[in-house]
Symmetry: C2
Subunit: 335 residues, 2 copies
DNA sequence: AATATAGAGTTAAGCGCTTTCCCCTATTCA
DNA sequence: TGAATAGGGGAAAGCGCTTAACTCTATATT
């Protein structure tokens, strides 16, 4: 049977309190006994039972990570960085793919709370403000990452979507494009609205009118990006450039263009968003707005950590700045 | 404060044992009290504390998932299917990216055991037989998925690598290729050895000699695939076809070819392995050996589940069969 | 009529830790 | 010399649940 703290205590001829203090390096223990007990623990192959420890200390050292879909490369990368940083701080990650569905989201949230996770990291688009409020009431540490929920006082780490949209569109404008379409993920997402706003701002700066007909809403997949881009291309007055609000959609766009014999970037410039590894994989390689995914993950974990250990200053919103990464999917408009 | 089982019991005027039985739907409780208590629980917003429950029942309803890297699309997809099935059965997944490093692997394994996970799913290449033995000794349910560890009596769900290698190579041979190179992931992996064996078998069947010079070992990334493929192409006597042991390597190969002005598939046919979504994304779309990833995930979870609930028959090894998916990266050799 | 049995609950002993007091001894200080 | 104090360790009360064993009725069995 696995040895418990009692076995160790007995073996060492001390109380379990003493052993506990050795394990947790707190309380006053002489150097000798500490070493003696440490050795005994090693000999017996003793490891503290973290479930029991969690029950009395209220700390499970687990973080719940809710995101739309772990098999989406953007979120997979993000998850990886979150996992790495969490591991450094001694936490494990429980993944929860919600598919942006409210029912899954609440189901997972209930579960996670029951399991006593120390904190929750939420990257799930349509985060239900109601369930969010509930969590906040329960004082459960939360950090929103990559997707924010406006009008809610909760720690948040995001990238400046407005600026991203602006950068992408300005780049196209500078290349001489005037007929620029945009595909957004979903108007329910604050991030989409921000990117769209950046798009409009850039247009305005160049005194180009904003046309509803060039704004398309799509799902999160390559296939639906293809379909949405197809609609734009087959419509009247084809755009010469297209800004897709994530790399998946941009890739769908390139594929749609290819299917129609429209050359990228010669006949159509395409800009993506996220700068996942897919961007360098597609041909032509994708010009895209780069998110500092690593930073995003690390900072979010650090913020959550602070809240979890009760180093809770005021809530904050950290906004990281995106960067345009120019590759081969954009070109100046032929005169 | 969050209500506990005591609060509910008091409110209902019964003992906590009764409440516990209502929660767990076991024991003998009259329909009336059951309903009454259920209502009280709902009114109070009571949810059982699963940490406490875990301490006494020894069940955490958590599964540890060890894999090389969650940001690798193959493993991300696999993880997603595992997560989905686990969720259906009431389990959560703790992800652990090991980078195929033994130190990370053991660190995570220790952690997971301390946290009392009910089972472990291992998809981590070089699984250290020693730590594996240790887990088996402790009677911790384990399932190996996608990567097997030979000579160890442990439940395993894999795909038939030998057959996959054979299918890929035969396809190329049928297209008339005779100079066929292969890039494997790492000779430490049983899967690599299996695929290589299939490659040899197919060659033998066509009475083509097996040449060491056409076997290259690479890492798991696109970049290293590019580099490995480059070595092959720049060497003397360029192959007319190449079998890459995963899609990432195949994509690296296509990029390496592109960089050298070698046309795929006209001057070089390329076959991948895994059939991740990347295969349809690259241009030309990739002919690849398709793994039934969904089935792999589901079966592995089901097998683990059986072991966890003690429905433990003999250990088994489930081998799923791969399927060749022909796309545009292969063509018959020009006469 | 006496006994067995099934039904509905209760009691209480854990599960393996953490943590707050508390105690004892040895040293230090005035 | 007596009191204060610091150091090292222990006792015991939880943490919130599960579960074996038990009690008490009410009904069925022979």
């Amino acid at each position: 049977m696995k040895p418990t703290i009692y076995d160790v205590a007995e073996q060492a001829g001390v109380s379990i309190a003493t052993v506990s203090k050795v394990v947790n390096r707190n309380g006053k223990i002489s150097e000798q006994t500490r070493e003696r007990i440490t050795k005994i623990m090693a000999d017996m192959g003793y490891f503290p039972n973290l479930v029991a420890s969690a029950l009395s200390s209220k700390k499970t050292y687990m973080i719940g990570l809710l995101l739309p879909d772990i098999s989406n490369p953007y979120f997979a990368e993000l998850a990886r960085h979150i996992e790495d940083r969490a591991q450094e701080l001694g936490y494990n990650i429980v993944i929860c793919s919600t598919d942006n569905r409210m029912d899954k989201e609440s189901e997972y949230l209930t579960f996670l709370q029951q399991k006593g996770v120390d904190g929750i990291m939420l990257s799930t688009g349509l985060a239900n403000p109601q369930s969010l409020e509930l969590l906040l009431e329960r004082k459960l540490p939360i950090v929103l990452i990559s997707r924010e929920v406006p009008q809610t006082a909760v720690n948040t780490v995001i990238v400046d979507d407005y600026m991203g949209g602006y950068l992408a569109t300005s780049h196209l404008l500078q290349l001489g494009h005037r007929d620029i379409a945009i595909i957004v993920e979903s108007m329910d997402l604050a991030s989409s609205r921000g990117r769209l706003k950046g798009y409009r701002s850039a247009l305005q700066e160049y005194e180009i009118p904003y046309l509803e007909q060039w704004v398309t809403v799509s799902e999160f997949t390559i296939a639906s990006g293809m379909e949405a881009a197809g609609r734009l291309m087959d419509g009247p007055g084809r755009p010469t450039a297209l800004f897709a609000c994530n790399d998946l959609l941009a890739i769908g766009t390139i594929q749609a263009a290819r299917a129609r014999g429209i050359a990228v970037p010669d006949q159509l410039s395409v800009v993506g968003f996220d700068n996942t590894f897919l961007a360098t994989l597609i041909d032509p390689s994708l010009t895209t707005v780069g998110q500092p995914i690593l930073e995003l993950g690390r900072q979010a974990v650090d913020l959550l950590h602070k809240e979890m250990i009760g180093d809770g200053q005021a809530k904050q919103r950290i906004v990281l700045l995106p960067e345009l990464v120019v590759r081969s999917s954009t070109a100046s408009i032929p005169h």
